[in-house]
Symmetry: C2
Subunit: 325 residues, 2 copies
Amino acid sequence: MKIAIYGYGNLGRGVEAAAQQNADVELTGVFTRRDPAGVKTRTGVPVYPAAEVAAHKDEIDVLIICGGSATDLPEMTPALAKQFNVIDSFDHHAVIPEHFAAVNAAAEEGGNLALISCGWDPGLFSLNRLIANSVLPEGRDYTFWGRGVSQGHSDAIRRIEGVLDARQYTVPVEEAVKAVRNGENPELTTRQKHLRECYVVAEEGADLERITREIVTMPDYFADYDTTVEFITAEELQEKHAGLPHGGVVIRSGKTGIDREHNETIEFSLKLDSNPEFTSSVLVAYARAVCRMAGRGRTGCITVFDVAPADLSPKTPEEIRRTML
Amino acid sequence: MKIAIYGYGNLGRGVEAAAQQNADVELTGVFTRRDPAGVKTRTGVPVYPAAEVAAHKDEIDVLIICGGSATDLPEMTPALAKQFNVIDSFDHHAVIPEHFAAVNAAAEEGGNLALISCGWDPGLFSLNRLIANSVLPEGRDYTFWGRGVSQGHSDAIRRIEGVLDARQYTVPVEEAVKAVRNGENPELTTRQKHLRECYVVAEEGADLERITREIVTMPDYFADYDTTVEFITAEELQEKHAGLPHGGVVIRSGKTGIDREHNETIEFSLKLDSNPEFTSSVLVAYARAVCRMAGRGRTGCITVFDVAPADLSPKTPEEIRRTML
């Protein structure tokens, strides 16, 4: 299977690493909107200008689009789905139906297959929500994120006057997770589910009280949460907070039995040292499925919900039944 | 969707309860090898002799076969797959390929669709092993079972002279689970993974030391484990150990990154008050998929690996994308 990367940031570099771990995957190129001369890949794979991607059609079975969800993907994925089988990690949950419709029309026009909103949330977490809801129709869903770095929240802090750099961790409230695991089915407010921990590098002489106040009262991002702010040096930030760990847990707690007398709990969790590398690994596995399903004539837009798990594996159906069932 | 139950034990009763929880599912009958006059269903659904199942073909979209894996299913599933779309919970892992081949031939002969080895292990656990292996090609798998009642081990104890009744719990070793969750990738022996707790009701005057010795030295069942034996009264067994709880956890711990420098952990776990009711709930969700896939012309034998998750849900594709992605 020949894949190519469109957009070479954290996610694109993750796909490059993941491709190396899959013997049936050949990475044929990286496409960038920057000047290719200034982009050096880590494995020596060639870099081309994004504008020339159409010329490489024969070298690409599936194009993995590694752009941002805010502005890149709503444009890129429909445009590229006209020419290629594609996969993206569009994660703006509220507007997935609109994105789906646009990509579906483009993919059908080109006779291609596109898989959107792949990764872990949306992605593997969604899959577990769907399966758990199907198995336990009467129950309750919970999703907790973290402990992990939220890049959006870190960026929001960096925009405050006097802030040089920042790192924000989203942290699930332990008592809440415990109550859910115990089948107590609690009603939880935003504040009861997650904490926010901020590590901030301030300019010399900056008003730390004002910065703290601006962080903890920031609407949407922090006002509804218990937020802690700690000022640290640039060196300490680099030393202790350079990584992009993340993770989380999806739990469904439901009832079975004639009198709904039994409680059943289904839990799926991730503990990730590298959020972008894990997301990329999911993208590569689903790119394999896109390649196979397109080969069987499937066109249009799909999601993780539409992929039979056997299509994710490089192994034969006989082998997976023998070794993993 | 019209379903029927073939075999009315713990699993069959679980399917009866699960059918009630799914508005799109109609349970049209229970088929039993016992005298139907002596079988009373809990929801009033009619009971028929197993031998007459063919006469009810028009009332059955999918037949859920609730027999035992040791001797029932190897005969029943191929025989019934010639006439019906079927689903079973065959759980004898080592001979799944043989069972698959026999059921596949029968289902193809009848133009039907059969899904075998459904439930949680094999079933949802298998699904998670497959997905986690596909996403993290370099890593290690662990499966722990329990804390839960093993009916096979309980039966083995009951066969010992002087034993009136017994209940055996399989218990994962906490330190082992912790080490795996920490990404330590330990090598674990059988003994290091699970403990076995036995609660035994003995005949009056029985030689308790001999019974204990016979249990803890029993090959395959107990000899390779740290096993505890506690003698209790029949009343205490009934009061504290009447249920059939179970559960377990599947963990894959793998590496990502150009230098495999990051650890990623995927975990799926179940905590079940009722093992048979949960297994039945999985069967009913997959019966829905069998019904849909058969309706699209699919024939032969399949497993959970071949089912696109969207087919498990009673909701429309639009609805699941909007609410669960």
